[in-house]
Every structure is written in structure tokens, then in C-alpha cells.
Assembly symmetry: C2
Homo-oligomer: 387 residues x 2
């Protein structure tokens, strides 16, 4: 995708904003991205809108993007509504990159947004469970049916790797500490491993602090062709070196989608994990950070715990991961997350991350996963970016 670049980003603060409607979140993120790109809404040629659960929260299906964008005066451009569980935002970005690469457009908007909070606090929990096969796989009596999937995986992982529950605690400690440096993060602060382990259990062994929270938020990205970016006077846009979407394990090899999406992304970008300066990965549960170190080839199989123990992936380490606090601390408004990761990485590559800046960051990877169907990841989307 040598011709596809990112020229502007915007993001709301993530958090519980019960009184704020979805469209207001979209407005704020999109306004920010347009201002950052230095373009007007009327310059946009198309919009790809990611939202995962509005149908189950407000009853708004079918035209979610149009409703949100129209109410801020954006109209008369093609709007596509995209949904891919927790990988919704990155899938919307993937489609936008594909459309620009096809030559169809040269300036398009991507927005991922989610309104999760609801006066019925059980509703978002069950809505999240619709990332499973709802007819076959949802235990309605569970405190968090979707976290049960992660919990089952981490129980297996703990027996097969060097990792311990203390390592899960270390992931949270890092996430919360970095989240405190991110003014857009839902949470952030100093916690200890002991506090993390003593937090209420959601799904054994995952405690509440080990699970990404319920929250609201939106993030937006402006995608352009390199030529259009030049015409706009943007001399150093963020380049999209690879945009890869995969679903489920390969029928023949059994290669999981997370492994395959990373492998293909490296191949297409023409680089390897050793070339990365900063990474955003999908830590929907603390354990995911460790397993994704491995699927992204940042370490060998079973070695994920070493990276967190040795501070390799901390700010100041060799390869900082989730500098914005990750899903655990920045928050995880489902449809927004894939875009929020890219906002964070664009800030890093453009050297405007303030206290959490990775000095000299030039190459970055975003890894966004979603859904669980038939014992398999429903969507895994990896973007490799560079400046």
C-alpha cells in the first residue's frame, strides 16, 4: 500500500459518559481529525464508519454512520457501515485503505465509535457477548461471557508458558502507569501487582483490573493517497506499509489468524518485528498482551512474560507497547479501539506524544483483534505504519 497515507487523527477522551450520545462522540473525533489534516468536511470523498453494538444499546442499526455524520453536516459522500467485533475500527481503516489503493478515492474518513454505557449496566456486558455466536456460545448467567473466553485461554496459557498471574499483574501496572500519561485515557494511575491480584475476580484468573473496561469514545483517521497528501502540502504523512485483515485459523495449517495477520503484515511491509519502534496491541485482557507479544513475533513461543518482567515493552524499553495505556487503561469502546490505536501510533510517529513519546519512533504496528467464533478469532487486523 505504498500510495496510502494517514494525514490526520482525532480522538475523544475515553470514559463513562452516560449522558453523551454516540453522535456527539463522533463529532468530536471527526472534527479533530479534519482540523489535524487541515481539510474541510466537504473535501472528504467517502466515509467508513465502525460501530459494533449500537443496535443493542440504542436500537440504531443499519445507518449508524449516516446518522452521526449527517448530524454534523457531513453528507453527500458514500458512507459504509462496518462491524467486526472488537476489530471494527481497524476493519473500517482497512476498507478505507483498500478503497484509496484501488484509486476510487484519494481522501476518505474513517471513524470508529462506541457508546457502551447504559442505565441498565448489564446491557453492555451482554452486548459485548454478541462477539460470540449468540445462538450457541453465550452463557447468560456469567458475569462477563466474553471475558470467559479470555479466561479459558489464559488458564491454558499459564500452564504452557513461563507466565504467572503476577505477570498479568505486571501488564496492568504498566498499562495504568502509561494511561496516567495519556489525557484521553479512561483510567490510569499507580497500582501494584498485589492490588491487581486482589481486585474482584471477573473470570478466574482474570480480576477486574485485568479486563478492559466498559466505556464510551470515538476516534477518527483521515486517509489519503500520497499524491493527494503532497497536493495538500503534507510532506511527511504517516505511510501505511501494510493493512491486513484475517478471520479464523487457516483450514490447512491451523495457523491462527493473529499469527497469520502479523506474518502477512511483515511480509507486505517488507520488514520484521526487529524493525518496529512502537506497538499497539489488543490487550482486551491482560493475558492478551503476553500472548500477542508472541503472535506478533516480539519474542519466542511461551516467552511473553520475559518482555514484561524485563521492561522491554515499557516506556524506555527496547520496544514500548501500548504507550497510550492500551485497552486496559485507555479503555475499550469497542468500535473505537482499532482507530484509537492508530491515533496513538500516528502521534508517536509524528513526535507529539508528550510525556509518553518514544524518542525517534519511525516504524509502528497496530494489532486489533475481535470476536470468537467456532473456537477461533473472528477478526484480526494488523496495520504497519511508518514516517
Amino acid at each position: 500500500m505504498a500510495d496510502v497515507v494517514l494525514i490526520g487523527t482525532g480522538i475523544t477522551r475515553f470514559g463513562k459518559a452516560l449522558a453523551t450520545p454516540l453522535r456527539a462522540l463522533v463529532h468530536e473525533a471527526v472534527d479533530g481529525a479534519l482540523a489535524d489534516a487541515g481539510i474541510a468536511a466537504t473535501d472528504l470523498q467517502a466515509a467508513f464508519c465502525g460501530n459494533a453494538i449500537a443496535g443493542l444499546i440504542t436500537g440504531q442499526e443499519m445507518v449508524r454512520g449516516q446518522v452521526a455524520l449527517r448530524s454534523m453536516g457531513i453528507q453527500g459522500i458514500p458512507v459504509v457501515n462496518v462491524e467486526n467485533a472488537c476489530a471494527t475500527g481497524s476493519t473500517a481503516l482497512h476498507l478505507a485503505c483498500t478503497a484509496v489503493a484501488s484509486g476510487q478515492y484519494d481522501l476518505v474518513l474513517v471513524v470508529g465509535a462506541e457508546k457502551m454505557t447504559h442505565q441498565d449496566r448489564r446491557r453492555p456486558v451482554l452486548a459485548v457477548a454478541s462477539a460470540l455466536d449468540v445462538e450457541d456460545d453465550v452463557d447468560l448467567d456469567s458475569p462477563s461471557p466474553f471475558m470467559d473466553v479470555y479466561a479459558a485461554k489464559v488458564r491454558e496459557y499459564l500452564t504452557q508458558s513461563q507466565a504467572t498471574v503476577e505477570d498479568l499483574g505486571r501488564v496492568v501496572v504498566k498499562a495504568q502507569r502509561l494511561g496516567a500519561l495519556n489525557p484521553k485515557a479512561q483510567y490510569g494511575g499507580d497500582v501494584t501487582v498485589e492490588q491487581v491480584l486482589a481486585d474482584p475476580l471477573i473470570s478466574d484468573p482474570l480480576t477486574r483490573l485485568m479486563c478492559s473496561p466498559i466505556g464510551d469514545g470515538a476516534a477518527a483517521v483521515v486517509v489519503a493517497s500520497a499524491e493527494r497528501a503532497r497536493a495538500l502540502g503534507i510532506t511527511h504523512p504517516v505511510r501505511v506499509l501494510a493493512s491486513v485483515l484475517q478471520s479464523g485459523s487457516a483450514p490447512g495449517s491451523g495457523e491462527p489468524a493473529g499469527v497469520r495477520s502479523a506474518r502477512l503484515a511483515y511480509e507486505r511491509a517488507g520488514l520484521g518485528p526487529q524493525d518496529l519502534d512502537v506497538v499497539e496491541l489488543h490487550d482486551a485482557a491482560a493475558s492478551s498482551e503476553l500472548t500477542r507479544y508472541e503472535s506478533l513475533q516480539l519474542c519466542g513461543p511461551g516467552e511473553g512474560a520475559r518482555l514484561i518482567r524485563d521492561g522491554v515493552t515499557d516506556l524506555g524499553g527496547a520496544l514500548p507497547v501500548n504507550t497510550g495505556g492500551g485497552l486496559l487503561a485507555r479503555g475499550h469502546p469497542i468500535g473505537a479501539t482499532g482507530c484509537a490505536q492508530v491515533v496513538e501510533l500516528c502521534d508517536q510517529l509524528r513526535a507529539r506524544s508528550g510525556a509518553r513519546q518514544v524518542p525517534g519512533a519511525r516504524t509502528a504496528l497496530a494489532d486489533n483483534g475481535g470476536g470468537w467464533v467456532g473456537g477461533d478469532a473472528a477478526a484480526e487486523c494488523v496495520h504497519v505504519l511508518a514516517i
Copy 2:
């Protein structure tokens, strides 16, 4: 899109199939499309899945395509879930054509599917209303909130055009007569204009027979690059001459999305309405057939009624429209319709439409509309096809 072709189609019978789950509909349509293309599921490189209201019918959000495809053994390929109100199926096709045109894939699946019937008969009616802005524009007490939008438009149209309510009746008479020739149609048979007008009123002046019905169904299309089709030994695939998506009226000119999508499709296809042999258009209400004759430039402004009165758009006329019975008679399982239109046109272009064949059809247009936001069409998608 000179390099994008359609090489296989499949469709279920449309109708009320309360006991049939969504995934079973998907299986049947996809199996048909794969067999028609002469390929195996393992040949597919990606899938674009359109569904509009499963979240509101079964609670399945986020991973609808994965759930349906995985249960028939299709896994390990990227799956994108798309939603664009009643233009969902065509939007999925549009994205698939874009992805093939970008060079990313050369053999992809498109499936549009909808399960609308529910033991609570009010539920699908309200689900359809989520094609409006549910926070601002839905009258929950209306027998059919979405048909109220069409009714308001037709009341205006009847004062501004040559059309009468009898012309709306004529549209239904044609649709039902052609539907009877389509073994996949939900309805079909001989009705008179008088019977149509005497049918129960849904939203003045639309009677029940003037409104597309609630129903279940799925349709699938296999999209390929021309080169891959040749490699598969397919010498005369259906070529995609244009694939255009638009949303809302243009901010400057006020040009409606339906007019603009058709105009752009003709421009990109390098032909005009006079070159068409057969058309599928979005007759969600009988009046739409007349207004869309006009937006598609099949006649001048206000002249739509002439075409139906003179039999121009009937089978045997100069330009047959909705040979499969249209949404009124074939049925309108929301997410399936955009694909079903293309299935009908591929059959016509491949001369396998049996009793409803348009002799020598070589060029076709599919027009699929969806949603209503801010007094404007939320999505209009036009495909121009040729053999």
C-alpha cells in the same frame, strides 16, 4: 472496473421461514454460488457479508458473517461485516469489487442475508425502522414507521407528476405477475389494480400490496478478477462496468443520491440508459418504481407513470424492469436484496431466466437504495453489468 467480473450466483427462495435460522439461509445461497462458479469454498480469499438487522432479531451483532460462514466450514479468510440499511447487499458487493479492483484479492464471496420473521410480529417492523434515525425520527405507534417515509414521498410525487394511485396499482400488477414466473419469489400471481387499491392501507396512500413484505432469504455472488476468471476457464463472465455508492444529497447542488449514483454509474460504465436491456430497481414501495424510472433517467421528470401504463418496463417491453418480481413480489429480506437483484441480472445476462428471460440481454443495471436520514437517502448503490 474493467477487471472485475461476477462468476457465480446463488439464492434461496425468499419467504417467511420462521423456523429457518439465518445461517441456514446463508449456507444455501453460498453453496449455490460456489457450485455455479465451479469453485470450492477453500478457493475463496475473502468474504463480504451483508446483514442489516440480526442484532435486533436474534441479538447477533459484530460477527454475523463469521458465525454463518464458519458453521458451513468456511474459515481462515478475511470476513467483513457490512451494513447499509436496505442497500446492505449492494454495499457488500461494492466493497468486494473495490477489493478486487485494488489487486488485493482475485476471488471473493459476497453474501447478503436477512432473517426478518420473528414470533413477535412487531419486532421486524420496528427493526426496519432502524433505517431511520431512531433517536429522532421513529414513530413507534405507526403500523410501519419506515413506510411512512415512502408514503410522504409518494403523496408529494402524486401532486408533481402524471402519476395516479392507479399507476401504483399497475406497478404491483406487473410485479406480482412477474413474481409468479420466479420460483425464488416470496409472492406472485394475478391481481388487478382494483384489488391492489382495495387492499388494507399501511400508510396512506400505500396499501399492503404496494409495500414490500417481511421475509427471510439470502443471495450470494462470487466476484473475481477477469484474469482469475479466465484461469478458471470462464470465458464469458458478467463484467462489472461500474459500482457506485452514494449517501445523501450533494451539499452544493442538492443532487439526490439516487440521481447522482445513476449518473456516475453511467459515466463510469461509458454508456447511458438507452443502452440498457434489463433493470432491477429498488421498489420497496410501489411508488419507488415510478420515481426510480426518473432518477435512473429511463424517462423524463414526472413521466414515470407513462412507462408502466405503456408496458415499456414490462416483460416484452423495450426495457423490462424487475423481471424477478422486484422487492414487492420476490420479497425484501433487507440485507439480501442488493445481492438478489444482481443474481437476477446475472441470470438474465447468462440467458437462464426461463419464462421471464429478456431475449438477448447484454447490459443491465441494478439500483439498490437504503435508509432515510436527515430527509435524505442514506445509501444508494448502482451496479452496471454486461456480458
